[in-house]
């Protein structure tokens, strides 16, 4: 892979990523907007050197925005999602973009210890379900899964309204936990019942540091 992509070039590539064909609401299936994905990945690479040359796992990878984006900057990526259809789209996305250094696995991350060997991953980068609807607690289960597989850093997106809760969880697990950025997220009208064309939500990029 070409590893010298600028943020703009990364954004242009990621704009070609196809999203969910029939998104399921209860799995919170919407893509990370490509401009936001490009900014975050570039930021993590430049600020923390946690992308290039690292093996990276995207939990709840959906159609591959974060795992493919990281790959374009030189990571070897894995993506796990419970939804086979989304992963089918992810495979189409990698052939369209000519990216090879990524593998997708179909699995339920709440059960990750059953199928994925712990502590093999350098970096986890994920945009998990927020868990603020009737899937309460799923956000924490994603962080837990990330802790079990990662031996270095976890970067995760969370609703700003849940910040206190997430930071407390990090503290409870004795991880150094920091809010790196606050992002305004614009989610397209993926789900038909949203009356507005799109909704804005405030999201935190949070880093957890895992010590071996």
């Amino acid at each position: 892979m070409c590893t010298g992509l600028s943020e703009k070039e990364l954004y242009i590539s990621l704009s070609q990523i196809d999203g969910y064909h029939s998104p399921k609401l209860y799995l919170e299936q919407y893509i990370t907007p490509p401009n936001i994905a490009a900014t975050i990945i570039k930021f993590i690479d430049e600020e923390y050197q946690d992308i290039r040359g690292k093996n990276l796992l995207d939990l709840g990878c959906g159609t591959g925005m974060l795992s493919i984006g990281s790959c374009l900057l030189g990571s070897h990526s894995f993506g796990i999602d419970v939804c086979q259809r989304a992963l089918g789209v992810a495979r189409e996305n990698i052939s369209r973009l000519g990216v090879n250094d990524v593998d997708f696995i179909c699995g339920d991350i709440t059960n990750i210890k059953q199928f994925f060997i712990p502590k093999k991953i350098d970096t986890v980068l994920m945009n998990p379900p927020f868990g603020t609807k009737d899937n309460y607690g799923i956000d924490i289960k994603f962080i837990d899964a990330a802790i079990s597989v990662s031996c270095n850093s976890i970067y995760s997106l969370h609703k700003t309204t849940t910040r206190k809760h997430i930071l407390e969880f990090g503290e409870m697990r004795k991880l150094q936990t920091n809010v790196l950025a606050e992002i305004r997220f614009n989610i397209d009208n993926t789900f038909k019942f949203h009356k507005k064309k799109s909704v804005d939500i405030d999201v935190d990029l949070i880093k957890f540091e895992v010590c071996d």
Binding site: Y26, G74, V82, Q84, G88, D103, F104, K120
Partner: protein, 133 residues
């Protein structure tokens, strides 16, 4: 599914038995090209099970590809590193099966994607919403 992924998948059962390494049966294999990164490979050598990689190569009929025992000073052995790179990252299993050596449970690989879901989870993931909601 690349062999690097085969190296970190398992079937850990509720009774504590560990299904590892998973038996690999491939019916369709592609070759892809990945960027060579020596530093990455050396780090992975530390973290992965070399003998499981050899076993995986054997199961797909490519066993003479790498030495059975990891050579000393392998980082200076350019040919070895190239072959290691190819084995881990460039062999893509498109269709086949992963089989738990303990329970015999089969995990299909379709369109390059291994499916590690257990049956009840599969039901949850099909099109309708979970029944309880």
């Amino acid at each position: 599914m690349k062999l690097i992924t085969h190296n970190i998948l398992q079937n850990n059962m509720k009774d504590g038995k560990k299904g590892y390494p998973l038996v690999l049966q491939a019916t369709k294999i592609d070759k892809v090209i990945a960027e060579f990164n020596q530093e990455f490979l050396l780090r992975m050598l530390d973290r992965l099970e070399y003998h499981v990689l050899i076993h995986a190569l054997e199961m797909i009929g490519m066993k003479d590809f790498l030495p059975i025992i990891l050579p000393e000073n392998c980082s200076e052995d350019e040919a070895f590193m190239k072959n290691l790179h190819h084995a881990l990252l460039e062999i893509d299993i498109i269709e086949g099966e992963l089989i738990c050596p303990e329970s015999g449970r089969k995990f299909p690989i379709k369109d390059g994607i291994p499916n590690m879901l257990l049956t009840d989870e599969e039901e949850m993931a099909v099109d309708s919403e979970p029944k309880s909601k």
